[in-house]
Subunit: 720 residues, 2 copies
């Protein structure tokens, strides 16, 4: 994970210089661009930039099979992958009789696409060395099933943990969704790591990994219009069929889009969404943020990883370079599909090029695309075999034609807790500030200084560890939420569940996974799905940065509070302080940091304010926070020593988180009452909230506003 | 050609409403967008929107073959197209053993790409009915040659006219450049129509149709970097090799880009550029104009064909829909090339889909893409055969990776006279106002209410007629230009030619087309290339709208004139009027029309001005003009009758053209002296130029300025 060095203001400015567009550093033009952005923002705010709160209605029974509709088999049937002799022999023939390919341009490497001098090595291996029988056995190592949903036979793998003596471990269902040009093969190395209990976790996973309809062993739709939203419905029905009403979802690439759609459409079913491709593709507000970042990168993205996104022109060049397939698949999938269905060489080149370019864009320089540095040819060809033997490349590509849906779907926020892991060389990158536009409970980003787009195959250990960490946090999130819910009313999610149970879609036949000892799974899984919330009462012992908020005594619900006086905090010495002691006083509540560029000026002026107005009833409540540039890394003692040197006389509290899942309820309350310009979250150190004598937050100012500029606002309140 | 109905102002407003973006009709937002555009324009004018006047330097000897360089055969050698038995048998095998293709989605037609239910018909025909021997003979019906240029063997067809008894006919060389996914096959129906003398034309063509390097029979470059600019150099060298220093160029699609590059880089060699894909892809100013048109379409494009471009969102949707191949070929040509080289079915689908979608976008609705409505399968497969037998699809697609050149090249204006023909269903459309940004002598657009992107194969007659018309006009253009050049100095083009002759590239061997009686061609062609300018003295008798300007007596050169007093015009009765009669008077020169929305107001106020200020020396010179919305269609008598009814007392002149090749020199002078806001051309009826007592145009106003608003400007001049 990333090294966390505190940054001075000078360093921050340097970062801004380094990653912003060079052109815009020319001052007059810079301000011109700002003016344009503000004008645009002002004008479009009302309808264009606004996120939609209306979740689209979905048809849970939409039919994807051919017409006239016929009865489909909704039982859960075991399935076996087969590489038939006929298929294999035909494949070998085609590989043998491949046409001569055009020689590459001099020194082209992979920069014009798959290098035709390297390709024969892949094709020869496939034809002569790839062990079809052994690989068929390998792919069948997990239990496969098929069941009819909405007119299609949907395939999935179902892998349960080996609990041994059982013990105190909860089994948690997780849906793993593959991407394009991937398949269920992506998860073969990851699955064992998820279904094996770990000493420091009280839970373990049970994995459901389906093939997306039109990919591999799930039937392709016959009707037009299946995109991520429609797949989300199919998978929601699939999970219901297996017996799950609540579960976690993990996905990357297209799987992330489907997972995101599930979190948006079925927030009561998805307990948490983990993704290795966290992105908000189309939201206009995301575009707006991205543009802001071209001027002040550090406002949008943490400086330490700003180079993943800025300079923007460089980032966009890479995106354009790597999305030609997207464009053609979104418009003419059937055309390019003809050639890819007819030529295994063409199919292998088309798929494997992505495993080179998306794992690290520098790979393009190498004549072999550095393909075998991270992957074995056998593993890569397993995946190609799934496409070839099922003739599913065309139907897989057709999903891109429905991508326009995301225009709408990415604008609809979801409250499902979400966690992203950002691998260094992944094609797409977006900062948390943008992700929070869509994922209102975006809890955390794990920054990894390695790895690329195909994380499950490239770095399964890192991915598995992160999924465990994420679900740990998701459980805690739900636990907190449950605490804050009044106990008399039934919880909303249960109510909705009852509601949805009234509309069975294809539940005529009682589904059972009869094969391989999976009977009764439905009931069992429902039980286990309910467990996490209970079992998560145990405090978790992860190696995460301590934020102390976990130690807080039971807090009021910040969604219902009316005054800061209802909250309790801890002072810098660890003593509990009930804020009702500040009744009748005017407060400035501010998050501080010792190493920020704003530190000196703010401490000086806050002191000045306090000296001048404390007799009028001003109190200043300073909360150290290490969430912005890691500029408050010290212990309480170090902070005390620092503020002493600054001759601080106002009230200092214990270090808190002000954003994210661990944010102190007081700060959540402040943010709720006084939203911010670009989202409610606190943007940087020294955000200042003014609270009136009744404990109501009435003003909010960013670090750019000097404390002395608050005087007029304060004076109004003193006189009230 | 288009029906030309006069439009009232109300109609024009209706057009604007119909084709502008609906959103922007909401008034406040509309003005907001305008403000943004103006701000943008103001800010970027200095560096961003400006067209570049610096022609890039090209290396006439750049080497495209493999290294180490070896001597290449620069002689001109006859060439024969061959469909070898081995190739043909292998092809038939592949077609027979094609894999099963994914079935199309229900009711998909061609909207997801080539329909796999129709494809077998194409493939079966190719395998069983296409007569390989007969087609090989057919393709060899013209003379083919090969010669070594810059390290590559370059192929071309050379077809000379059969002059019969000769007579007074001049032979004019024309270079025909094919596009992607086309080939020399595009021109087989067109060529006979160009090399056959016509009764009403004093010239006939001699056709040179090369294969672009990497397409068909021209060798593919081994080095990176060959785009339209580099092909332009190769073809310039090719024409020189054959013996041409001056010639006309015709091209569509990629051929248009190469032709445009030749006109830009070699303005002394290209006598005129004719294109069926007139476009300026990347110029920022073109983008700016296009955006302006989203608010006022009629300002940018003639209302009668506004629906080809606006609403812009609709146009852009089509462009995005039809440019997936562009995106993938510009980034990963070698990847998709593998499959297309290995699968003739895939290649046919990939190429023929374009012949469906680009001929008419409505074709996508049909299950057979309406492919055979306009083309015969034999002809289409001839073209596919050229790609398949030469294995050149990959190298042809690589040209797209160099398209970024056009970013620069499209911004550099050229003075080479240019003529576009706009077929109704062509994928790309741009109005003349945008084309003139690049082609400063864009003489004419032919509007055709039929046809699509592949004009030479679809409507060879229409295209041939238009090329004859265009070259007629080009000849006239050069004749005019020559007249206006002082005779003592050597012409610039000759001087440059001598210059270029000093740098022979590969002229070591004296090139001769030895085969099939083409010896001596070099000398003869050079002669004929010089002839057009002389022979064009004959007035042409085309069926074009009469603008009368051709009857003008010899005029002064408007580029050198200093005062309007030097010009001669004709009054409405046909009498010559030397404008020096207006010496010492202040003039308003205005183009008028009887059916314009501005007509009533302007005539009224012009009368008012004249009555009030004629005693102070004001004279108003009104020139009827039918170039804007065809709102002055009448005869001189009709115009007179109309102005009489309006009680016009000021001076009325004969109808003129104010824009384009036929523009009256007086108006060219006015435009030169008083340039316009968005290009110098006159934008609409009732453009008003104020001329001082010395005959110097000092002010210019558009139709939005009422005549009475001119008073302050006039009064200043009366007192001088």
């Amino acid at each position: 994970m990333s090294s966390k060095k505190p940054l001075t203001k000078a360093q921050k400015l340097q970062y801004d210089k380094k990653y912003s567009e060079k052109k815009s550093l020319y001052i007059p033009k810079k301000y011109f661009v700002i003016a344009i952005i503000i004008l645009l923002a002002a004008s479009y705010k009302l309808y264009f930039f606004k996120s939609e709160d209306v979740t689209p209605k979905v048809d849970l029974e939409q039919w994807w099979g051919s017409y006239p509709m016929s009865e489909i088999d909704t039982s859960i049937r075991p399935f076996t992958i087969e590489f038939s002799d006929i298929k294999v022999n035909d494949l070998k023939e085609r590989l043998l009789h491949r046409a001569p390919f055009a020689p590459p341009l001099d020194s082209a490497g992979f920069s014009y696409g798959f290098n035709s001098l390297f390709l024969p090595k892949v094709l020869d291996f496939w034809q002569k060395e790839y062990n079809f029988e052994e690989r068929e056995r390998f792919l069948n190592k997990y239990n496969h099933f098929i069941t009819g949903i909405q007119g299609l036979d949907v395939h999935y793998m179902h892998v349960k943990p080996d609990l041994g003596d059982g013990g105190d471990i909860t089994v948690i269902p997780i849906l793993l969704i593959h991407g394009w040009p991937g398949s269920i093969r992506e998860f073969y190395e990851l699955i064992p790591k998820l279904v094996t209990p770990r000493p420091n976790h009280k839970f373990v996973f049970e994995v459901i990994a389906p093939s997306i309809p039109g990919f591999g062993y799930s039937q392709a739709p016959t009707q037009q219009g299946m995109g991520p939203q429609e797949v989300a419905v199919v998978f929601y029905n699939l999970m219901k069929r297996i017996g799950y009403s609540k579960y976690y979802v993990q996905g990357g690439n297209y799987g992330a889009k489907i997972g995101s759609a599930m979190a948006t459409l079925f927030p009561d079913a998805v307990l948490g969404f983990h993704t290795n491709t966290p992105s908000v593709m189309w939201s206009p507000m995301a575009v707006f943020y991205t543009l802001i970042g071209t001027i002040w990168p550090s406002f949008i993205v943490e400086p330490s990883i700003a180079d993943r996104m800025y300079p923007l022109s460089q980032y966009l060049t890479t995106i354009i370079q790597e999305t030609g397939h997207f464009h053609i698949q979104a418009t003419k999938p059937d055309t390019v599909g003809i050639a890819l269905s007819d030529s295994p060489a063409g199919l292998a080149a088309y798929i494997l090029e992505k495993f080179s370019a998306w794992t690290d864009k520098e790979n393009k320089q190498a004549i072999d695309g550095a393909l075998l540095q991270k992957f074995s040819l056998t593993h890569l060809l397993d995946n190609v075999m799934i496409y070839w033997t099922t003739n599913s490349i065309t139907s897989s590509m057709r999903h891109y034609t429905e991508y326009k849906q995301l225009l709408d779907l990415d604008r609809i926020p979801t409250d499902v807790p979400t966690w992203g892991i950002k691998f260094k060389h992944n094609l797409f990158f977006q900062p948390d500030s943008i992700l929070r536009l869509k994922y209102r409970n975006y809890l955390h980003s794990s920054i990894v200084e390695d790895g690329g787009h195909f994380a499950a195959m490239e770095l399964p250990d890192v991915l598995a560890d992160d999924i465990f960490d994420a679900v740990d946090t998701f459980i805690k999130f739900h636990e907190e939420k449950k605490k804050n819910e009044p106990k008399s009313e039934p919880t909303q999610s249960n109510a909705q569940q009852t509601e949805s149970a009234k509309k069975p879609t294809e539940s005529a036949k009682k589904p059972t996974e009869s094969a391989k000892g999976q009977t009764e799974s439905a009931k069992k899984q429902t039980d286990s799905a309910k467990k996490p919330t209970e079992s998560a009462k145990e405090p978790k012992e992860s190696a995460k940065e301590p934020t102390e908020s976990a130690k807080q005594p039971t807090q009021v619900d910040y969604m219902k509070a009316k005054s800061v006086h209802e909250f309790t905090v801890k002072d810098i010495h660890g003593n509990e302080v009930k804020l009702d002691r500040y009744k009748g006083q005017v407060l400035i509540i501010v998050n501080v940091a010792s190493q920020c560029g704003y530190t000196d000026g703010h401490y000086k002026q806050l002191n000045e304010l306090y000296e001048k107005y404390s007799t009028k009833g001003l109190r200043i409540l300073a909360f150290p926070c290490n969430q912005f540039g890691y500029q408050e890394p010290g212990t309480p003692q170090e902070i005390l020593q620092f503020t002493k040197a600054k001759q601080v006389k106002f009230d200092l509290f214990e270090k808190v988180a002000v954003n994210g899942a661990d944010a102190h309820p007081l700060w959540n309350f402040l943010k709720r009452m006084q939203g911010g310009t670009l989202g409610d979250f606190v943007k940087w150190n020294f955000s200042k909230f003014i609270v009136d004598k009744n404990g109501v937050p009435v003003e909010r100012f960013g670090p750019n506003t000097d404390p002395l500029e608050l005087v007029p606002y304060l004076e109004k309140l003193f006189d009230q």
